[in-house]
């Protein structure tokens, strides 16, 4: 664990040292539309952004456990259209019946992303990516972090509704983002204290439906909203995972997460409720909060620019 992080720190420091004075470009913009960073649904744009932290209070498990996670993730543009991502999380699992609370880290996830297009008039964008969740980078024994690497091609997209006719002004602030990915575990079976555990291929899919009061106030109709209300974005996110094989086919799990995003100049604050879609996904309710930083605005002359080119 120590060595990969030290290596990444060294690589990052080297990349930062190589930064030149390049033109700074926008994060999450497609014409009039500003797409905020959403929590559950991957963002459809490469960016220089960081979430620190995302604190998740998961719904209670079927066995009565309560899991709380604190996640860190960062996205960095290498070029205008190419970016990399890194994330990891600290987990705390409180067990029932007087059993000790477990602490540790989840597996490290990295990714490479390429922006396919941004269409300003139609407020549309999409990217393709390749994500890796690495084996033995978390607390395997204590928390069940993966002892196998999973590779996942991803496709993320976003579409704003600002190109609807002027006669539908109240619908134009809507936007939808979504993602599809498919997991390829590099090991099909792990062996633990409870016997063999099979790792299926998973199909992951999700959407986020947003209603931007910023868009309404500044691009459709001045309805008299002022700060901080003119930066609010109500959102509802949904994410599902469907195993495709290895005895678990069709056992879909997922959550629905209604919430609120406030997007300022330099940072964004989000809060969402977590509602499991079925008993396999959890029992009861959970919630999460996130503090997200726009590094391209905080450090426009250095870290907030692509490493290479404009």
């Amino acid at each position: 664990m120590n060595r990969p992080i030290q290596g990444l720190a060294a690589l990052t420091a080297a990349a930062l040292a190589a930064l030149a004075a390049h033109e700074a470009l926008a994060h999450g913009f497609a014409g009039d539309r500003f797409f905020p960073a959403t929590i559950l649904t991957d963002d459809p744009f490469v960016a220089d952004e960081m979430s620190l932290p995302t604190v998740t209070f998961n719904p209670p498990g079927a066995d009565g456990t309560h899991e709380t996670d604190a996640e860190f993730d960062i996205a960095k543009r290498l070029t205008h259209d190419l970016g990399i991502t890194f994330s990891d999380q600290w987990e705390s699992i409180r067990q029932p019946g007087g059993l000790p609370t477990l602490h540790g880290t989840g597996g490290i996830t990295t990714g490479v992303q390429y922006q396919l297009f941004i269409n300003a008039p139609h407020e549309a964008m999409a990217l393709v990516g390749f994500q890796q969740n690495w084996a033995h980078t978390g607390s395997v024994q204590a928390l069940g972090a993966p002892d196998y690497t999973t590779l996942s091609p991803v496709f993320d997209w976003g579409k704003g509704m600002g190109d609807l006719p002027e006669s539908l002004p109240w619908l134009r602030p809507f936007a939808i983002t979504g993602n599809f990915s498919y997991d390829f575990p590099l090991k099909t079976t792990s062996y633990g204290p409870n016997g063999a555990v099979l790792h299926p291929n998973n199909f992951n899919y999700g959407i986020a439906i947003e209603y931007s009061l910023e868009y309404l106030q500044h691009h459709v109709k001045d309805v008299g909203l002022s700060a901080p209300f003119d930066r609010l974005i109500p959102v509802i996110e949904m994410a599902m995972t469907t195993p495709m094989n290895r005895g678990q086919g069709g056992q879909t799990t997922g959550t629905v997460q209604p919430g609120l995003i406030w997007a300022g100049q330099y940072y964004e604050i989000s809060a969402e409720a977590i509602i499991p879609v079925n008993s396999l996904s959890g029992h009861g309710y959970g919630g999460l909060v996130q503090l997200h930083f726009f590094l391209d605005d905080i450090f426009p002359a250095t870290f907030g620019r692509p490493v290479f080119g404009n």
């Binding site: 720190a9 040292a17 450090f299 426009p300």
Partner: protein, 122 residues
């Protein structure tokens, strides 16, 4: 892990913190005439206030009528005393709907653009 992540972040910020100055994308703050408004009389100018100071050389406003013809005077300017304010004069506008397209570059070179409409007449 907490110490390792903290160390990683500290390393990042020690490097990036040396040259960064906190400016940001310029968003539209408010406009006169207001976004989406209907006016009884034609406005002589469009004024747009942004959330950041903007670069005069790379910022502008174009106003078009429903046929797509330019109705601004073609000389947008940033106010001398308030560098968040972008102004453009208008021709005498007959009743109708008009589209305002703005594009600005904030003083740290971040580019943003946007559109809104307003109406003159009943």
């Amino acid at each position: 892990m907490t110490h390792r992540v903290s160390g990683f972040l500290l390393a990042c910020f020690l490097v990036i913190g040396t040259g960064g100055v906190a400016w940001a994308h310029a968003f539209l703050d408010h406009a006169a005439p207001p976004v989406g408004s209907t006016l009884a009389a034609p406005p002589p100018v469009i004024r747009i206030w942004f959330t950041q100071d903007i670069e005069p050389a790379f910022s502008g406003i174009e106003v078009t009528d429903s046929a797509g013809a330019r109705v601004d005077d073609g000389t947008p300017r940033v106010d001398d005393r308030d560098r968040t304010l972008l102004i453009v004069g208008l021709k005498n506008l007959p009743p109708g709907e008009y589209k305002v397209h703005w594009h600005v570059i904030s003083v740290d070179t971040h580019a943003t653009e946007g559109n809104f409409t307003f109406r003159v007449g009943p």
